[in-house]
Structures are given as C-alpha cells and as structure tokens.
Amino acid sequence: MIERPIGQRTPVPPQLARRVEILGVLACVLFAIILLRLWYLQVLTGPQNVATANANVVRTIAIPAPRGLILDRNGKVLAGVRQAAVAAIACSELPSSLARRASLYRALGVALAIPATQITKALTPCDSFAPIVLRADIPSAALIYLEEHKAQFPGLIEEQIAVRTYPYDNLGAQILGYVSQINTDDLGLPNFKGVPAGDIVGQQGLEFEYDHYLRGTNGIQRVQVDASGQPTGKQLAATPPVAGDDLKTTLDLSLEQEGMAAIAEGMKLAHHNHYPGVAAAFVALDPDNGEVLAIGSLPAFNPNVLSQPFVSTAAYDQQAAGDSFIDRAISSAYPTGSTFKPITAVAALGAGIITPQTILGGTPSDGCATYSGQSFCNSDGADYGPNDLDRALQISEDTYFYQVGAEANARGDVIQKVAKSLGLGAPTGIDLPDEATGDVPDASWVKQQDAAYAAAYCKPHQHNPYCPAGPYQPWTIGQNIQLATGQGYLLATPLQMAVAYSALANGGKLVTPHIALQVENSDGDLLAALPGPSPRPLPKGDDAYLQTILNGLHLAAQSPGGTSDDVFGSFPRTVYGKTGTAQTVTNNANDDQSWYVAYAPDRTRPIVVAVTIEKGGFGDQAAAPAARLILANWFGLPEKVVEGTSTSR
C-alpha cells in the first residue's frame, strides 16, 4: 500500500504544520517522561518492587520441628515425640458475625470438652495464617460427632501434629521439664536466642537447659494470599523442618522409677507415723564423677498434660497443686539435721579440735549440756555419756557435736570453711535451671542478713520490733553449736548433701553433678559429648581421719545400736549412711525434715544417695527406708520396705 513519492507532496499550511509539530514534540516529551518513569520503576528499582509485591501476597507459617528425644544412659526414651490428632481452627474460615462466632465457640466447647471462654480467648484475635490448635487427642466419640456435623463447625480442621510425649508421666517431671509456647518475657533469654514468638520451647529442667539442641529448626511453609488475605491455594516452595537432636543423659530409667516410688513410699511411711509428709526429693550420684544416676521430687506434675498444644487453666492449676513445679532436689534448701555431722567431723579433725580418739559429749544430767546459759540436749533427752567420734556418729550423739561446735566457735569459721569447700552455700553447678544456693551461716552472714533486712524493711521513723537490731542478731556461740548438728540457719539442698558425701566417698574430690551425657542424632551418632567439669581435689587431709568418719557412718548404718541399723542392718552390702531429723523454723516436731544420706561402695558402680522427706519425721523412719529401696534397685537386690524405728536425730 505504501506508494513511492512520485508526485508533488500536498502542501500543508505553514501555521498548521507548525502547530502540529509542536503537538508532536509535546507527545515525544510525554512519551519520554513515561519511558523514563518505566525504566526507573522496572529496571532501577525493579528488584525492590518484586520484594514488596511478594511480601504483599506471601505469608509464612512455621512448620514445627519435631523435638529431639531425651534418653536415659542406656538409650531408653524419657521424653519422646508422637503424632497426635488435633482439632484446630483456620481463622480465615470463621464466620464474620461475632454472634455466630460466639455460638460456634459454645458448640465447639461442648464437642471438645473445653470451656467456651477459653476457646474465645485462644481465638481472639484470630488473624493467624497457621491453624490455631484447640485440643489434641480428641476422643473418638467427639471425632465422630465432629465428622457428622462438619457443616456446623466452619473453620474446624483435624490434623496430625508432632507432640512431645513423656512415656512415664510424672517421672522426673521437674528434671525433664515440659514444653509449651514461649512466654513473651522469655524471648530475651540466652537459652532462647533467635526463637520467634509463638514457638514451642522447653519450659523447665532439661527441656529448658538444652533447648537449643532439642528444639531443631522449624520449617517454613509459604502460603499465597490475595488482597483480602484469603489463601489462594497456590503451592509455594516450602522448607522442611529439621528435627532436634537427641539428648542422652546420665539418668538410669530403672533407678529413676525406683527412686520416685521410694520417695512416695517414704511419704507413705511418714503418713503412717502421723507426719504430714507433704513432699520429698532424692538424688543418686556417682560419687567419682558426679553423674546423676537418678533424681526426683514429689509432688510432681504430669508434663504430658502441660505439653498439650492447648492447656486449660483448670488443667494447669491441677498440675501445679502442691508446688509441684519446684524441683525439691535442687531448688529447695532445707536444714539438714544430723546428716551434717560428718562435715563437722571433717572440720574438727582437720583443725585439730579433735582426734578420732577424743572423748566428748558427756552430759552432767538429762542428756543436756549448757553453753552460755543455754541448754542443748540429745534427742528425747537421752544420755549417751562421753564417746569417741565413731560412736558419736553411730548413735548420732548431739552432745558430742555440740561440744565440737562450741570449741570450733572459739577458732572462728572452722566448720563453715569446710562446709563451703564441700559445696554447701553455693550452687553445685548442675546443668539444670533454678538451683538453690543454700546458707552456711557465720558471723558475717548474719550481719549481711540483718543489713539486707534493714534495707528492705526498716525505713526511718517506722516502728518495727526487728529494727535496728535485725531478726538474725549478732553471731553467738549457740548458733555455731546448732550449725555443728545441721540446725539453725544452715540450709542445704539434697543435691548439695549428695555432693558433700561424694567427697567423703571418693577420697576428697569435689564433683560437679551433671545430667547431660552427650548429644546424638536420631541414628544414635555422637554429635557432641557433654562431659561435666572434672572433679576438683580438696586440700589433702589425713586419710586415717576420713576412714574414721566413714567407719562411723558404717557403724550408724550397719551395726547394732546404729541409728539406721534397723533399716540397713539386714542390707546385704556395705553401706555408709547417716540419718537426719531437722527441726525447721516452726520448731514444731510435726514439721521435722526427715533425711538420709548414704554411700554404697562398689568397684564399678559406687553410689551416693540423698533422700529427704518434708515434714516426714525421723530420718530413720521415712527417709532411710526410701534410700534402702533405691540402693537395692541399683545393686539388683530385692526391693523391700524396711521401716525404721529409731527416734535419734
């Protein structure tokens, strides 16, 4: 159609031509502006715009990583993972009317047996792209009902998710811990570095301490949504989760089970003897290396209940009854009573206050001795006469140790120094959170306590009977005498006592107790060994002295007249053990803390056991039988409940 210009061109009026040209130039300028703008948007800032566009329509949902297992020393599962059927709500499917939502929540509450108020709370606001889990382990009847009435429950989905499971329920609950969504307050903790809000993390015990190994790496699911936030159903690339690593521990499942049963038995014995017996704890250590063979505390919660995706307030309160979250083996410091006497003996022998042959503790009358006008008596006012150290330990003669305490006071903090060197008054360093420090009182300690009290409670012009002297008052000889028998202000955890006795058992090394052994992958391949700190040798003492003390403990446990001979006399292995019956601040005999700490030597499997029963009465009557059960299990002997009758402290 294009013809060659073979003729004259049509003349265009010059003014018109000019105006058309101007219009043409204008068009060129406008096209240039648009092309420059296009170049700027699409080429220069294109990548940023792509990112913005993607952020507009892609929502990411974390795919929870299956948690690593917690294993005992033989590879038996203490905390595992199972697939659970859960009922969850997809927020985008909920009815928009608030009234219809409320009635839906009521119906869901009935069907799933959860209070509707809690459903409302969990789903307000409901703006998550990941389904919000309401309940795991739906009963089959409820499942059938929900299936049949699907149309009545818009947004309800049933799915399988990986849930933490503890096959032995409350076994070592405080030590293993439990898992749940991270608290906002905990987001900054070093243990949870990099954990996003809403993630499931370990909340106590090993689950908390070793969370970074167990947690794994969440996967990422990407969901495309449209402008109104509705998923389009388009599949986007997902990153699969990486399962957490397994944690192998030093615990022995069988001993752990027996330990829990034994302290329950100890509480039962306390009840039998008309003591409240409200709580109990035990620790079993390898005295040579500090490995925790078993450890437990009662009452305990069931971590399976608390690790559910959705825990009702009622269920939580029920589990928390009796301060069950407190791990009394490491987080509760108690007066130790006579279990402290061997520590006093080490101090006195070392300082030269006594020799093994020194005869002390004679009482003028009624089994009582008087210091600074204050009377200190044996339990039940028994008069054992003057005795040497072995005998004093065998029968737990208070007056012997009162005299040692009185003489030690003249030389300063002799006992305190040794107690501290054996690990009292400071955390043992076990790899568990919330360890208690305990108290080893001396002159400066009471001064500090009073100063702290004054700072906290004594304001100027304020009337308070304890101001300005302070409730602890200046240090007296009486306080040192009480300390010598594990009374007064002395407080120690069962774990601290087990560590102190381990030093007696291993010939003078302070061990750092530890539970984690190694980190493994799911095939059992070693990823990281977690050896505890090496035992620290204590200042070398006279071996003969140590032998004297051990001999006294052996006589106490397994010789006629020994304080726990009625429990351990019939035990077929050598046991070094000491009872303790500690008066508490209430000074009410019903509240006496029942203690037993024992060492059973073995060439390959030595063991130190500490047992304490809160408000459990005499050490021999509640704690010692429990300790015997634990030792019997460890050495594969018949587990027999042998009740003690000694009323010696």
Partner: protein
C-alpha cells in the same frame, strides 16, 4: 493549484486507477496496524488479568473494527450539516444518564439495557469533536476569534460539567482537552489559548482547594480525593490511592521482561479494576518493560498517524476533527498510563482500545474510523489533484 503533467489524466486508465486508488489508499495502513496491534495487546492483557472478560472484549473489538471500516467509507464532511442534532443528542443522552442515576439513587455513568450498558459519555467524545469542529468551521468567518473561543469553550463546558456530575470526571476532562485542541489547531492566537489554559487551571485549583474550604463542592468528594490522592498515598486497601501505590509496585515488579503467570499484584486483587482503568498495570507486571514499550510504541504510532492526518486533511473540518481525536488519544494515554505509574492523578479515564469495556472501545473505533475517513478523503482529493500523499 495547477494540474501536473506528470500524471496525465487519460480517460481509459483513469477509472481503473481511480478504483485502484480508492481500494488501496482509502485506509491508512500504519494507523490500522496500530489499531489491530493494540486490540491484540488488549486481549493478551485482559487474558492475564481477568480471563473471563476476554471473549466479550473480543466481541467489542470485532464490532469496533466493523464500525471503523464503515466509518472510514463515510464522508465525514456530511456530518457538518447535523452538528446541532449531534449536540442535542449528546446533551440529551448525558441528561438521560443523570436522570436514571438519580432514579436509581446513586451514581450512574451508563444507560443499562438488559445485556449491555451504554456509556453515553464515551460516545460524547466523538460527538463533541465533530460538533465543535463544525462550529469552528461554520462561524470562523463571521465572528471574532475571541467570541469563537468563548463559544467553543462554553459549548464544551456544558457537557463536561454534566458528565462530571454523573460522575465521570475523566470524560469531562477529555471534553475540555478536545475543545482546547480544536481551538489550537484552528489557529486561535496564543494569547487566547493561554487565557483559556489559565482559566482552566484556576478553575481546577478553586474546585480542589478553595471550594471545599468554603463548603462548595463542584466535584464529588471522592473525585477531589482521587485528584489529590496520588500526592499522599494511603494504606487503606479500599482507597484509590492505595490502588495507585500497588499499581506502581506491580509495574516495577514486572522488571525488564515481566512476571508472566507469576504476576500477583494484578491477579490477586491488590490492584483492583485491573481489566479496565489499570490495564496498563497488567501489561507492566506481566510483560515488563518490553511489553510496556511495545504498547507505548503502538500508541506513539497511532498518535503520529493522527497528527499526520491533521496535517493532510483536505479541509479544515477534517483537520479539526482529527485534532479532537489527537487530543482525546493523547490525553487518555498519558493520563491513564501516568496514573498507573503514580505520576498522574486518578481521573477514571480509560486506556483507548486496551481497557475493557464496550463503550470505550466502540467510541475509540468510531474516532479511528473518522480519522481513516479523513485520511481517505485527503488521499482521494490529492489523487484528484494529481498529487500523491507521502506517508
């Protein structure tokens, strides 16, 4: 002008040549190429944004081609006789839309027949360019230039204000642009043009700033917001300003070669009205700089050809109609594309041929048919005078 000896008008060859000339040169092939190309681009873009609209748009385009073909064979000069009839029809149609809108208790831009709706303001553009061109041609020798300018602007302002009330701000502005362009090509002197432009700018400023301040709303509130919205983007997804922001992101995300089927902004509703006012956004996101450049090139071709037709029209009437057409095309292309790029306010003008919608497509084809007719007449006249038009 004298007849040339180069092409002697031999009687035998004459009729055959004239026939051939009529067959061959009745159509501007470049304009036709741009038209068809944009039609194809429209179908491709709508297929990406809203596949459900493709078949209807194809029907509109097919119908439009037919309208254009018929129009190109029609002697546009005869329309001069019917100018008042055309104007009356234009005003009546707009009033009818307004009345129906009032009856429906809401905004109306179209007369709804059960199957199709008829958007009078779109066809009004064509009617107005023909009418104003006729007014200028018929009165230019008898009245002063000032009176003519005032008359043309007044005659354009009436339908413009009416369609703005419909509310169709975009078409109203197009009307004014058409009137201005016709005066411009009619060789009205620069001072008068500058006066008209100054009055226009002042009026718009008053309507947007002073008016609302004293409680007089010449424009609907949302029209005010749209016109000023691009200056301060909003985060409200339902607001027009948000759409404009999303449109800019969408086009940018297209990068050099486009996101194709992975486009999200225009297919997942972030940019609403993507098949209609934001069709260029679809091109930008799905086909990238390359696709956008192709579309813009076709418009450049179209505008170039239209300008050429202004220059070669055989009479002033044709040149003025073509000037109106150029104004309409340029205004709509730059305002619409500028809006999608975030450098122009949202006025609701469609992108000629690309935007989905029967009225817009058919009105554009009607305009293109007029252009072809003017071109064809110019060629015939030139051939009759023994001249050959060069492209």
């Amino acid at each position: 002008m004298s007849t040339s000896a180069l092409k002697p008008r031999s009687t035998a060859a004459d009729s055959g040549h004239a026939l051939a000339a009529r067959m061959a040169i009745g159509f501007d092939p470049w304009l036709a190429l741009a038209t068809v190309g944009l039609g194809i681009c429209s179908l491709v873009a709508i297929h990406g944004a809203a596949p459900g609209y493709v078949s209807r748009q194809a029907v509109y385009l097919g119908l439009g081609l037919l309208v254009m073909a018929v129009m190109s064979r029609f002697d546009y000069s005869r329309l001069r006789e019917f100018k008042w009839g055309i104007y009356a029809l234009l005003i009546l149609a707009i009033l009818l839309v307004l009345a129906l809108g009032a009856a429906a208790n809401g905004a109306e831009r179209a007369i709804n027949f059960s199957v199709v709706s008829f958007q009078a303001s779109e066809f009004g553009k064509v009617a107005l360019m023909v009418f104003l061109a006729a007014v200028v041609v018929d009165s230019s020798r008898r009245i002063s230039a000032t009176v003519l300018t005032a008359r043309v602007m007044a005659l354009a302002l009436l339908p413009a204000l009416l369609v703005i009330q419909e509310p169709d701000l975009g078409s109203g502005l197009v009307y004014l642009a058409i009137a201005f362009a016709i005066l411009y090509i009619a060789s009205v002197n620069w001072r008068q043009l500058a006066t008209v432009a100054a009055i226009g700018v002042t009026a718009l400023t008053l309507a947007l700033t002073v008016g609302p301040a004293i409680g007089v709303h010449v424009l609907h509130h949302y029209q005010e917001q749209r016109l000023t919205g691009f200056l301060h983007p909003s985060q409200n997804p339902r607001s027009d300003a948000f759409q404009q922001v999303q449109s800019v992101i969408a086009i940018g995300a297209g990068q050099k070669t486009g996101r194709g089927a992975n486009a999200t902004q225009t297919s997942l509703g972030l940019v609403g009205e993507s098949p209609t006012d934001f069709i260029f956004t679809v091109v930008g996101e799905r086909l990238g700089f390359v696709g956008a450049a192709v579309v813009l090139s076709l418009y450049a071709l179209m505008i170039w050809r239209a300008l050429r037709i202004v220059a070669i029209a055989k009479n002033l009437f044709g040149a003025l109609i073509a000037a109106g057409a150029v104004a309409m095309l340029m205004f709509q292309v730059f305002v619409n594309v500028g809006m999608t790029l975030g450098i122009m306010p949202i006025t609701g003008v469609t992108l000629p041929l690309m935007s989905y919608g029967g009225s817009s497509v058919l009105a554009t084809f009607l305009t293109l048919g007029l252009l072809q007719s003017i071109y064809g007449q110019a060629r015939t006249a030139a051939a009759a005078k023994g001249r050959v038009l060069r492209f």
